[in-house]
């Protein structure tokens, strides 16, 4: 007998993850008996808190091959990205004013760069190829003697493609340019070592790796080169002056435990989730024609699948699978009424961006859930295609891309 399925099914692990119960257990004492302020230097309450923070700092550092002193705790990856980019921009203003990033970055990076543009910095937004990866030749061509920072994400939050980070790191190092990577989706999921990849800064978040929300970190290289950052929050000088503010001790303890679990269980987690992802992909392809995977299959996070279901609009698809939590690149599901800028950047056409679903699998996804989701999608897509004028036209042999549409 198969296990009964509990609905709704969560398949949106890129958005956030549940906190691992082992992480919760580790955190609990730090809300009550060990509630001290880690900055209190003159009594045991403070010492306990500080000790717990330092243990977590080492756990996070160990996960990415860093030294504990290189970990700056923040409120999350958005803050970490802001600190890295604005901190470098201000600190190295004398050296240059040019930043290189990429069009498919997270808004925490894109909008930070846009703000800097208003303040007189120059930003190059590299395009991506059809598979979602940046072309290293484009990167090399964009570098000038004014370039102070390259910021390219490790893995994309929508399509899960993993950029050639080590190659980018090597280019940056050769040119003497600092390299920051938004590693939120990658750390804890795939091997990520700051020295192998030659990154100078990396943004991380606990809640994407089975830790609590509201805590993240920025890795800041201390040696070869020593990276200096202007703080964006002023105050008591916590975190070696780079991030003032009383430390979120229970959150940090949870982040540390989550990082340790990811390090110890990465191999088995990856094997399991890859098999589930392949099963989902296979079942969808068996049941439906004209579905397209967005982004490179080879260079991809093991738990991500992003598929466009041609001729079916994403929000109507989500309505049909309302007991499954996934995300869509459809404009109708975003506040801006614009389809996903990441999918548009792949050049696949807006219609396919509107038709996309992002599946994010994780530590508690089961085979039964994968089968349920695949079967449900096949039946809903089939039903919606029967009422899709685009599917009808395509089946009549009309080339939709050459049709004249009356655009509103």
């Amino acid at each position: 007998m198969p296990m009964p399925i509990k609905l709704p099914i969560y398949m949106d692990y890129h958005a956030t993850t549940p906190v691992d119960p082992r992480v919760v257990q580790a955190m609990l004492p730090y809300f009550t008996e060990h509630f001290g302020n880690a900055a209190s230097r003159n009594h045991p309450f403070g010492w306990e808190a500080e000790e717990a923070v330092e243990k977590a700092r080492k756990q996070v550092a160990d996960l990415i091959g860093a030294s504990p002193k290189e970990i700056v705790f923040t409120s999350g990856a958005t803050e970490s990205d802001n600190l890295a980019i604005k901190g470098v921009a201000e600190m190295y203003r004398e050296k240059g004013n040019h930043i290189i990033t990429c069009v498919t970055e997270h808004k925490a990076v894109i909008d930070t760069c846009k703000r800097l543009e208003k303040e007189g910095y120059r930003v190059t937004y590299l395009p991506v190829q059809k598979d979602g990866l940046v072309d290293l030749n484009d990167l090399k061509a964009a570098i000038s003697d004014k370039t102070i920072l390259i910021t390219i994400m490790t893995a994309n939050n929508e399509i899960g493609v993993v950029q050639p980070v080590a190659e980018i790191g090597a280019i940056a190092k050769e040119k003497g340019i600092l390299f920051h990577t938004d590693a939120v989706q990658a750390v804890g999921k795939i091997p990520f070592n700051v020295n192998d990849l030659k990154v100078d800064m990396a943004a991380m978040s606990a809640h994407k790796m089975y830790g609590p929300k509201g805590v993240g970190a920025l890795y800041v290289r201390r040696r070869n080169p020593r990276v200096l950052l202007s703080p964006i929050i002023d105050g008591g000088g916590h975190e070696r002056g780079m991030r003032s503010g009383t430390l979120n001790v229970p959150g940090i303890v949870g982040f540390g435990k989550a990082a340790e679990l990811c390090r110890l269980e990465m191999a088995s987690d990856t094997a399991r989730v890859t098999a589930l992802r392949e099963r989902l992909n296979r079942k969808l392809h068996e049941g439906l024609d004209e579905i397209y995977i967005n982004g490179s299959i080879e260079h991809r996070l093991p738990h991500n699948l992003n598929i466009s279901f041609a001729y079916v609009e994403g929000e109507s698809l989500l309505m049909g699978i309302n007991d499954v939590a996934v995300s869509s690149g459809s404009a109708c599901t975003s506040a801006s009424l614009e389809p996903s800028y990441v999918l548009k950047a792949l050049g696949a056409g807006d219609d396919l961006a509107h038709s996309s679903i992002r599946f994010g699998l994780g530590r508690w996804t089961t085979e039964e859930e994968v089968d349920y989701v695949a079967n449900k999608l096949v039946s809903v897509v089939t039903r919606l295609r029967e009422m899709s004028p685009l599917y009808e036209l395509a089946k009549e042999g009309v080339d939709l891309s050459t049709m004249q549409w009356e655009v509103h």
Partner: protein, 140 residues
């Protein structure tokens, strides 16, 4: 996004999904919207040439649940109306009936456009010469 019960009902049990032969002189076809905008509606009316009454209406829609519901509702309302009565259907009627939120008003506008386009196509086939402006003016 929370949907009204009427939108969910039309989404789950769409009325009058299908196609009628485009070549039929008594069938008017309207195809509005664009795939890159995320909405395309095809709406067809079959008119009794003796009475001018719409005997049948069919739709197919690529779009969100509200777009599907707007076009499904439109086909329900079209049946039994005369061509001129059909042209009196306003997007605001659809908005009110389906309780569409402001971000979904464009779905009702598209449905009004589809009605007008279908009836224009019918009139053109009938050689009526006179057509109406196919662009609905959103009034909500």
């Amino acid at each position: 996004m929370a949907y009204s019960n009427k939108v969910i009902d039309h989404y789950e049990n769409p009325r009058n999904v299908g196609s009628m032969p485009k070549e039929d002189p008594n069938v008017g076809t309207g195809l509005v919207g664009a795939p890159e905008c995320g909405d395309v509606m095809k709406l067809q009316v079959k008119v009794n040439p003796e009475t001018g009454v719409i005997d049948d209406a069919k739709f197919k829609t690529f779009g969100c649940g509200s777009a599907i519901a707007s076009s499904s509702l439109a086909t329900e309302w079209l049946k039994g109306r005369t061509v001129d009565e059909a042209l009196a259907i306003k997007n605001t009627d659809i908005v009110n009936e389906l309780s569409l939120p402001p971000v979904k008003i464009h779905c009702s506008v598209l449905a009004e456009d589809a009605i007008k386009a279908a009836i224009n196509d019918y009139k053109k086939k009938q050689g009526a010469g006179k057509t109406v402006d196919t662009h609905a003016q959103p009034t909500a």
